[in-house]
């Protein structure tokens, strides 16, 4: 519209006398300013998030040193003897996210390959929204599935699996992430020009070598974007891990025992009655700040990869 070459404002002033209900120019300006204000609210939201997290985190560091956060190996802010080492929460988060990606990456990628390379158009049109459905189910429902259905089945297969564990939570989290990987990866695969495939066929390559040696490498940046985005979602996911992975901060990579993720810790403190201004209250903002930083970097990275694949076609 802006590139149409018309000058709406000039037209507007001309029309003022002809169209009886034309808004006055100052009203037009005011409306535009109001709409701009709406758009600006999103910027204010970001500023608010950063501001709130930074403020409480700074207040926290007046009482606890950064060294404690980084070098202590215990996280017990709610106990009498307080330790503020972030590593147990980080380990819990990495463990559940890692298991989730181990599930979501192969399944999501294979699904993307199927949808892009093998499925007939009608089947594709029907399977895509079906997969999206997986991402539309509230996470609390997945948490229930992990705790009530998946963990008891796993307990029969894995000896020594506790009732709360990162294995069950991670697997269910992975299922939730499949559409995220499959959808974006499929876009990337689909965007690979057909000329590349035809070139490979012309050189005598069969279908599978073409997919693995030509199409997948060409779509790699889009696939990377989808995987990083899924990882970021896994790190920030809350209810599945709060329900099924337990609430015991523990520095371990054992998928059978209860752990606590950063997000689950925020939920645990919020469920209790922690008065504002206390050190315990501030810890959730510190954990939130760490969580925000990690997901922000991942999202930015994913955005960069995505732009590369979208720019290439």
């Amino acid at each position: 519209m802006a590139d149409s070459g018309l000058q709406p404002r000039v037209v507007g002033s001309l029309s003022h006398s002809r169209v009886s209900s034309a808004a006055a120019p100052w009203l037009e300006r005011l409306l535009e300013a109001g709409l701009f204000g709406c758009a600006l609210l999103s910027v204010a939201t970001t500023a608010g998030i950063v501001g709130v997290l930074a403020l409480e985190t700074l207040a926290f560091f007046r009482e606890v040193s950064l060294g404690q956060l980084l070098f202590d190996t215990q996280w017990t802010p709610l106990f009498h003897e307080k330790h503020f080492g972030l590593w147990p929460l980080l380990a819990g988060t990495c463990l559940t996210s890692g298991i989730a990606l181990l599930v979501a990456l192969p399944l999501g990628l294979l699904a993307a390959i199927y949808l892009s390379e093998f499925a007939s158009p009608p089947l594709r049109r029907c399977l895509k929204p079906a997969l999206e459905l997986l991402a539309g189910i509230p996470t609390i429902v997945y948490g229930y599935f992990a705790l009530v259905f998946v963990t008891p089945v796993l307990q029969k297969l894995v000896p020594g699996l506790a009732g709360f564990n990162s294995l069950g939570a991670g697997i269910v989290l992975g299922i939730m992430l499949i559409p995220m990987i499959s959808s974006l990866s499929e876009d990337a695969l689909f965007a690979v020009p057909n000329g590349l495939r035809e070139g490979a066929y012309a050189l005598g390559a069969a279908r599978l070598p073409t997919i693995f040696r030509v199409v997948l490498p060409a779509a790699m940046s889009g696939i990377a974007a989808s995987v990083i985005l899924a990882a970021s979602r896994a790190v920030g996911e809350t209810m599945i891990v709060a329900i099924a992975a337990g609430q015991q901060p523990r520095l371990t990579l054992d998928p059978r025992v209860p752990v606590e993720t950063m997000t689950a810790y925020v939920v645990q403190v919020s469920m209790g009655d922690t008065p504002a201004g206390t050190l315990e209250y501030r810890t959730i903002f510190v954990v939130g700040a760490a969580l925000f930083s990690i997901t922000f970097v991942m999202n930015a990275l994913s955005f960069r990869f995505k732009r590369r694949f979208q720019g290439s076609n």
Binding site: A2, A22, G37, Y114, S232, E237
Partner: protein, 292 residues
Amino acid sequence: MQTLERETSLRRTRARVTERVFIGICLLAVALPLGLLLLLLGELVKDGVERLSWQFLTSYPSRRAELAGILPALTGSLWLISLTALMTLPVGVGAAVYLEEYARGRRGANWIEINIANLAGVPSVIYGLLGLGVFVRQLGLGRSVLAGAATLALLVLPIVILSAREALRTVSPALREACYALGATRWQAIQRVVLPMALPGILTGSILALSRAIGETAPLIVVGALSYVTFLPDGIHSPYTALPIQIFSWVSRPQPEFMVNAAAGIVVLLGCMLLLNGVAILLRHRLQKRVG
């Protein structure tokens, strides 16, 4: 010569077989999660259906699982979703109109766009912390349904903006130009032509965004939704609980009877979401016919 031919044909069949196997594995990767979801949903309904009754929908929570109901949770969710819609829809559509109709190509606009894309990737629990810091503490709203709805409104705002922009983009530029040719101002073109044309898309996207908000749990826990409420909200400053919060509190209990309640609660929650999605589809169909 003959052995060479036989070898190539052998290699070809082998390639064809591996291809078939691979396609099978790929298909499995699609079918497995979908099948699992269906299976789990089936188990869920089977578990929850015995508790589902009129009494379950119209009772207050109780220490005895079979007497407990979801009336305060259902009412609270209704309050939350209505207030969220009231707050987020005007702002979201306004922002989308600004970005699509006024700001194309302006430098600040690009910046706002990147910011919105970033916000869409922020974990929902972080929005809870924002709500806790700003609405609950700074603005002194406390653990009120207003604070919860404001938090949810900010959470779904990026989705509303993105879907409203999509809808605005489907309106042909020729229509806008026709408006200007007839002497309309920019706002007149937006108000009388662009918005009515884009309305079905905007409404559908907004309802889908709200149906996501109704299932959000983590931010509400952080801004202090209660888990045991024996009254209904009587205003925007009232304490409240919500359907997902009630489900979470039942899931957190060790007694298996409460798991049945949780399953029944989830069935109701999914039913609400299904209803909203159905309304969105119906609305789009109806309005599209009228505009068309």
